[in-house]
């Protein structure tokens, strides 16, 4: 398939204009985070002098570093929990045959119909009752089990030849060993996809961290940003933007590294 030059030009024009428009809010934030407050107040588009003051201030006035660590720990916990639980469940649905399997599978599907937002009140009471408010466990535990992750991994586990499983049975290999030494290594790519997705979504969580944390020691960076935004004077936009950029940097890097895998994995998990 070759394209005429004029057609190519049209596409490049469309792509560039769209990219500029789409990325503009982020670019504005990026530029502002390097501006002095005077530049911002006078409505400059480009910083007159590039300064790191806003970043220094953001770290000085808020326990931003602690927030980042908290977010990192919570996201990592959720990601690992999801990978473990989803892969175990997917293994059972693909490689084990037992009574009631289909019913259980239906229950997994049914979980997708219950929005977490509709069950926050009892969940808050449960976590409070277990004395888990303001703990990493309370922040992450409710998100370990995910039907989506199970479906995604199930699609990939199904591509592993059944003969492998039969051979493992003949050699007397147990299910746990087969799951650990054969299935997980073979499905590495899909595990990475789910891991990236899980990390992205947990890092960006808002409602649950807002409810389940009340002090700075475990608060995640998203809620920190809300604090920063509501406490800062309106003429300190540079500091707020610097905070915003610090928050998105880890996920943007992760997204750019894993974009191809994510796109493939998510489409397969969603459609097949």
């Amino acid at each position: 398939m070759t394209m005429s030059i004029s057609k190519k030009l049209v596409f490049y024009l469309l792509l560039t204009v769209s990219a500029l428009l789409l990325f503009a809010p982020a670019i504005v934030a990026f530029l502002m985070s390097f501006m002095s407050s005077q530049d911002i107040l006078t409505g400059k588009i480009l910083p007159e002098t590039w300064t790191l003051d806003n970043y220094i201030k953001a770290f000085e006035r808020f326990p931003l570093f602690g927030y980042l660590m908290n977010s990192f720990i919570v996201s990592l916990l959720i990601t690992l929990g999801q990978l473990l639980l989803s892969s175990m469940a997917a293994y059972a649905f693909v490689f084990l045959e037992f009574k009631g399997r289909d019913t259980l599978f239906f229950i997994f599907i049914a979980t997708m119909m219950i929005p977490f937002e509709a069950s926050i009140i009892p969940n808050f009471q449960t976590i409070r009752g277990l004395d888990l408010l303001n703990t990493y466990t309370g922040l992450s535990l409710p998100f370990f089990a995910v039907a989506f992750g199970t479906f995604l991994l199930r699609q990939h586990f199904k591509q592993i030849p059944k003969e492998l499983k039969e051979a493992s049975e003949i050699t007397g290999m147990g299910d746990v060993k087969f799951y650990l030494t054969v299935v997980l290594p073979v499905a590495k790519t899909s595990l990475v996809t789910l891991g990236v997705y899980g990390f992205l979504t947990s890092w960006n969580m808002y409602l649950w961290p807002l409810l389940s944390t009340t002090d700075d020691t475990v608060r995640t960076v998203q809620i920190g940003l809300k604090q920063l935004q509501s406490q800062e004077q309106l003429n300190e936009w540079g500091v707020i933007m610097a905070g915003g950029l610090i928050v998105v940097l880890p996920t943007l890097i992760l997204l750019f590294l894993g974009q191809k895998k994510l796109q493939k994995g998510l489409t397969e998990g969603a459609i097949k």
Partner: protein, 312 residues
Amino acid sequence: MKEAVVLQEQYRKIDFLKIKKKQKRIRFVKGMLFLLPSMILFSVFLFYPMARTLYLSFFLTDNSGATTVFVGLDNFKNIFTSPIFLKSLQSTFLFVLYTVPGTIVISLFLAVIANEKLKGISLFRMIFSSTMGISVAAASVFWMFLFHPTMGWFNQLLEAVGLEAIGWLTDPKWALISVSISTIWMNLGFTFLILLGGLQSIDSHLYESAEIDGASYLYKLRRITIPMLSPTLFFVITVSFINAFQTFGQIDMLTRGGPQNETNLLVYSIYQEAFENYQYGTASAQAVVLFVIILLMTLLQFKLGERKVHYQ
């Protein structure tokens, strides 16, 4: 003698059945063990809360959320006669109406132009999917500035062309639209990524044979791309619907439900009722309404997408 043989045979059969039964039980226990962690968590953090929410919706509660008086359907009667909740429902539906088509149309356009094999296309794909990596909190901060009454770019732009400034987030006429615009932006990345994946899984032979027949670009788009993409499109539309009903973060950051409750979307209303007014009963009734809406949406997805979505 003969009887003895028969007996023996029977014993063997029973033994065999016993072993088979035992194996079956072992297999069942094994399967359950692999599924147990997920099932326990689903029960504690999803099924129990759902039942509990329904239960709470029939009661009045004290400030800590303990039930005090059974009031039957009164909570539901109250919310459906409360102008504030009805307003919230109306705003939620309007919000869905603004954001879902907007998100789908724009990301479909982006996915189509980013599906061409051109040099440097992966850079554009990265930019188009970037908002998926930008959290609601950060995105809200970015947009809050753009909407700023004096310094914001939108009003600067209006001023530059000689129009009057708009109170994007403070004018009741504009607030919901402004929040919708920023929400569309936040959703684009994810939707784009899924749609691009859908486009790339379309068999290229279809395009090649259409090209031999001399089909135009638009013809191919209409006759091959869109129909072949329909399962993906369907999935994205459903997900967007459900997400729109669950919107919370940008409301909390940008408008706090105001002005005049114009942007008081369903989840924000539940949050306020429960965690600011401590009215757990009515908040639960609202949550039940949200649950029913999402349930209907998901069922619709399964029903309509039955032929396209295979789970087993």
